[in-house]
């Protein structure tokens, strides 16, 4: 309590005196106390050297959030989250992390090993305080490496006119663009978690592709400076001007541990005439131990607006992590003949819960969408696909095709499909196909008779089941994702 009062006092004195660098001097001040209030938001905004309008924007979101209630319609269960018991501006890794690898869930370390992650990096990923990692020079080098690669990339991007930077930098350096687009796809009051994110986000990416530019490389969060400190409340904004193309990769296959149990990111995509955005995610947040203890809650709002004619937004995701996932990457198809795509693999094992899917909102004439969802449940997990396809009156001749397949491994898990279809245009066409299958004993036996171990057999069958989605991923990502699927499902049979 003392700490809280102390910081609030500091915030007040700082905002009153307007002394900009007030927090830099005391390292302790890098951490805001637990809890959320207008003062904390002011602190975040000041700390990020934001313009006044940004602070107002945040405060408006906060006011909206206060009036909202946590949604409970998803098929997930969790103990109540005490929003006053969280840090909203902090780098808690430095304080709360395990002191050494001995304190890290051995299962997690085993998984790093299987994914082929170098020993030195494993500690960093596991959230061990870098100061206590032996031989820390190596770990630090690894970070420096990615920084130097990032710098080279930045030069190429600048030449093409592409802006790719942390969102906090964009707010300072490109305020007009941010002001014009931020919150226009996911409004501050869109939902409980989006409102919370709008009030307190501190991290994330900003991408701007100018007219007619084909982004010269795939943009990966890995190459963004600071990418290793994935924020708790990330905010990503991608704008593709007319005729431009961009492919963006998010996440990595290594399971990431984080003391922040609650993650609530917002991603907004905007595609103008003939622009194309491909957004690929491989997410592998720490799911908790075999009993689900300690895993991440991942409540994400991802939405793309196909504003222009013939624009296209494509979401591809492979989700294996988190204790709880609540996530519906969506497309709002304003543009005539615009295209929305959603390709998803969601794997749940042990006690994981996932409620995920997409929304395709058809507004423009001739807009088309494709949804391919592959849910795999093993252990005691629950995996729900929740999808909405809405054809608005103007969506003449719009088309949707949905294919929703569930694969069950064992008989303790659940798969649920909840499709919502609303059509207000008689010429629009919606097709929905769904299947549920089990990995049959005779399939496993067939593979084993040919010499495959049971785990290799499961992995082969699962990868086959997901093929339609995996082939949408950029090549290197697809290879990693395949490996990840195998590792995530280890021990799920027999």
């Amino acid at each position: 309590m003392a700490a809280v009062t102390e910081t609030l006092d500091t915030v007040q004195s700082v905002t009153q005196s307007g002394y900009k660098w007030g927090f830099e001097t005391t390292i302790e001040m890098d951490f805001a106390p637990k809890g959320l209030s207008e003062d904390i938001i002011r602190l975040i905004s000041t700390r990020k050297e934001e313009p006044e309008w940004m602070l107002e924007w945040r405060l408006k979101a906060y006011a909206a959030w206060l009036k909202m209630e946590e949604p409970h319609w998803a098929r997930v269960d969790h103990p109540p989250i005490d929003y006053q018991d969280l840090h909203y501006y902090a780098a808690p890794k430095k304080r709360a992390g395990p002191k050494s690898l001995d304190e890290v869930d051995p299962e997690l370390l085993k998984m790093y090993e299987k994914l082929g992650i170098p020993l030195k990096e494993r500690a960093i990923l596991a959230g061990v305080d870098p100061d206590t990692v032996e031989d820390r020079q190596v770990a630090v080098d690894a970070v420096f490496d990615s920084v130097s690669v990032a710098t080279t990339f930045q030069a190429t991007l600048r030449k093409a006119g592409v802006i790719f930077c942390p969102i906090s930098e964009a707010i300072r350096e490109h305020p007009d663009l941010v002001k014009q687009y931020l919150g226009t796809v996911v409004p501050t009051g869109d939902n409980f978690f989006a409102a919370l994110n709008s009030a307190v986000f501190t991290d994330g990416s900003f991408v701007y592709i100018p007219k007619g530019v084909r982004c010269p490389m795939e943009l990966s969060t890995y190459f963004r400076i600071n990418a290793r400190n994935t924020g708790q409340f990330e905010r990503t904004l991608i704008i593709a001007e007319a005729g431009s193309h961009v492919s963006y990769l998010e996440g990595c296959t290594a399971p990431q541990r984080d003391e922040n149990q609650l993650h609530a990111a917002v991603v907004e995509l905007i595609a103008m005439d003939d622009a194309q955005i491909k957004y690929s995610t491989v997410q592998n947040w720490y799911p908790g131990d075999a009993n689900g203890k300690g895993g991440i809650y991942n409540f994400v709002t991802k939405r793309g607006a196909c504003r222009g004619a013939r624009s296209k937004i494509s979401w591809t995701q492979v989700e294996t992590g988190s204790a709880i996932t609540w996530k519906y990457p969506s497309c709002v198809l304003h543009g005539e003949d615009s295209v929305g795509e959603f390709y998803s693999v969601a794997v749940t094992n042990n006690h994981q819960q996932a409620d995920t899917g997409t929304k395709m909102i058809h507004i423009g004439k001739g807009s088309r969408s494709t949804i391919i969802s592959k849910g795999i449940s093993a252990g005691h997990s629950n995996n729900t696909y929740r999808g909405l396809v809405r054809m608005l009156p103007g969506a003449a001749n719009a088309r949707n095709f949905t294919q929703c397949d569930s694969l069950l491994i064992g008989d303790q898990c659940g798969a649920h499909t909840v499709p919502y279809i609303e059509s207000r245009n008689p010429t629009a066409k919606v097709e929905h196909e769904a299947t549920t299958s089990k990995i049959a004993d005779d399939q496993l036996f067939y593979c084993r008779q040919r010499g495959l171990s049971e785990e290799d057999a499961v992995s082969l069958i699962v990868n086959g089941f997901c093929k339609d989605v995996l082939k949408e991923l950029p090549m290197e990502f697809a290879v990693e994702a395949q490996k990840l699927l195998a590792v995530s499902l280890e021990g799920s049979v027999g």
Partner: protein, 249 residues
């Protein structure tokens, strides 16, 4: 070589095999015939380790090692191959990928280096050609949408690539056209070497014209009731099982 003594097995408490005695010396091909439901496929499954079957008695050894104590994949690594009567479909799993994964699993078990995709494809294409199978068979998903005959040929392709020491072919000739029948027989004949044996389950004497067995056994009610030379198959083709069934009763 394969040595089976007093082998008994049941499924869901229902006895299917009731004491099988059978010896297949190295280098020999034996045929197993018998009426529907007599337990022929069950014998193949029990030898290859399918878990639904409970072994209730007897022994089965292969080159001196106890087959029944091993996991199915260990039996495969020891050289046992079962061509399924009804091959299983693996949706989304590319046939070439499946075969390479299987071959590499066996190679690993034998301490050999794994084959990369290029090396494997070269090998696989040579085999498909030898078996007069279209190349696109490798690209398709394992047995998915295959015709009955194509599935059987795919089993022969797998056998040819995995080069087992003991092949059990469960009615691999059923549903094949005449040319394919010859291909199956050629597939087995090509593997014939002093350390290779085969157990060929069939209802048709025709296959045995191309693939001349050293011995023919008749299985009835889970027991071998008659054994003889190739001429036994010809006899049965004419007279059927009626006499044997009457004898057994």
């Amino acid at each position: 070589m394969l040595e089976i003594r007093g082998l008994a097995a049941s499924i869901n408490e229902k006895p299917i095999l009731n004491g099988i005695d059978l010896e297949v010396p190295a280098g020999e091909v034996h045929a197993i015939m018998g009426p529907n439901g007599s337990g022929k496929s069950t014998l193949g499954y029990v030898l290859s380790g399918r878990e639904d079957y409970a072994v209730t008695g007897g022994t089965a050894t292969f080159n001196g090692v106890d087959l029944l104590a091993m996991e199915p994949e260990q039996r495969a690594a020891a050289g046992l191959f079962l061509a399924f009567q009804a091959p299983i479909e693996l949706p989304g799993v590319n046939n070439a990928n499946f075969l390479r994964t299987a071959l590499n699993a066996l190679r690993r078990a034998h301490g050999e280096s794994e084959l990369d995709a290029v090396q494997f494809l070269k090998l696989a294409k040579a085999e498909t050609k030898r078996l007069a199978m279209p190349d696109d068979m490798l690209k398709r998903n394992v047995n998915v949408g295959f015709s009955g005959g194509e599935k059987k040929r795919n089993e022969v392709l797998q056998m040819a690539l995995l080069r087992p020491k003991l092949a059990i072919l469960d009615e691999t000739d059923s549903g094949l056209d005449i040319d394919a029948l010859k291909i199956v027989a050629d597939g087995v004949n090509a593997l014939r070497r002093p350390e290779f044996s085969a157990l060929v389950i069939t209802h048709h004497q025709r296959l045995l014209d191309y693939l001349v067995p050293n011995k023919v056994h008749v299985l009835l009610h889970g027991r071998i009731v008659r054994s003889g030379g190739p001429e036994l198959a010809k006899e049965l083709e004419k007279s059927g099982y009626a006499e044997l069934i009457a004898e057994a009763a």
